[in-house]
Subunit: 186 residues, 2 copies
């Protein structure tokens, strides 16, 4: 059994560090006693503080109603070690299977929400629904990240970025231009 | 003078191919005779057809009002060849300078909007404001991509993905898992 990455608290105002580059994430939820996971690539940072993120969770997904009713979720960041799991989760439905069991993932208790963390992921962000104004029209949920758990190592995990058509781009080299930024613009 | 990438029409319903991986984009606009450009990393795909994208354009940006009033923009996709330009555009304001002139960029006429395309970019997506419901509260603009121009080569351009703190992740290797997808899930 693989060892789970050890995570520590991370400032919620800085989750852009992990989400702004646009990785595929695994969104976990719990409602009426059942837990579920979906694969999602349609998300954006919206604000530093409060730490707001927007997720388009199509109503074709079993998770849509679970998240809409429970008003919570956890955004988990998988690395390439979980590539086939990410694809498997995206190609199955929580209507038919228990995804934690099916994909041998570890559901860990969150601190502030009932939705479970996925132990195998590099980071997990506990979220509470902040605004549902666009849920009906666009299935667009605005969440506040209320607690963040991040593994210290590796510093730049290999994340998956979906391009459609079954093809992922994997995160590559790191490039600093820090010296060219005005201090207030970092 | 560098040759501009030659672009051809691209299906608007498939712009997720370029935007879903989460690259930094350059958003160009025109209002009251002036053109401007901003660097932006907070965006998400919202729908295939109509082709909807959501952009968080903070009202601290000069572009915010130009785009809000003109109800149009162009989302341009820069590659690593433009890294320092991307940083320079993000660290200056259209209040003070003409960014096309300052950064020696080519403003090309769009087909359906007044906002200019940036000739040096790998792709340009002409957008019309589709829904301003969240502009007041979150500076979140929902645009419809009405026309897409994409360079055929390179097939996988080196895109920039911002992590904050002056540091970019550059797009890396390509990984296909097409054979693992159910047909409807690609």
């Amino acid at each position: 059994m693989a060892k789970l990455p050890e995570k520590t608290d991370f400032p919620v105002s800085q989750v852009r560090r992990y989400l702004e580059p646009g990785p595929i994430v695994l969104v976990s939820s719990r409602w009426q006693g059942a837990a579920n996971i979906m694969t999602l690539g349609w998300h954006t940072i919206l604000e530093f503080s409060p730490s707001l993120v927007g997720l388009m969770i199509s109503d074709g997904n079993h998770s849509h109603r679970m998240i809409r009713e429970s008003r919570e979720c956890v955004i988990n960041l998988p690395t390439t070690a979980l590539t086939d799991t990410v694809v498997g989760i995206g190609n199955t439905s929580g209507r038919d299977i228990d995804k934690f069991a099916e994909f041998d993932l570890t559901a860990e208790d969150a601190d502030t929400v009932d939705a479970p963390l996925i132990g195998e992921c590099h980071a997990s962000f506990e979220c509470r629904l902040h605004d549902d104004a666009l849920v009906e029209t666009y299935s667009f949920f605005i969440f506040e990240v209320v607690k963040a758990h991040v593994a210290a190592s590796p510093r730049h995990p290999e994340t998956l970025h979906y391009t459609g058509d079954g093809v992922f781009m994997v995160s590559g080299r790191i490039l600093s231009r820090r010296s060219l930024f005005r201090p207030g613009m970092l």
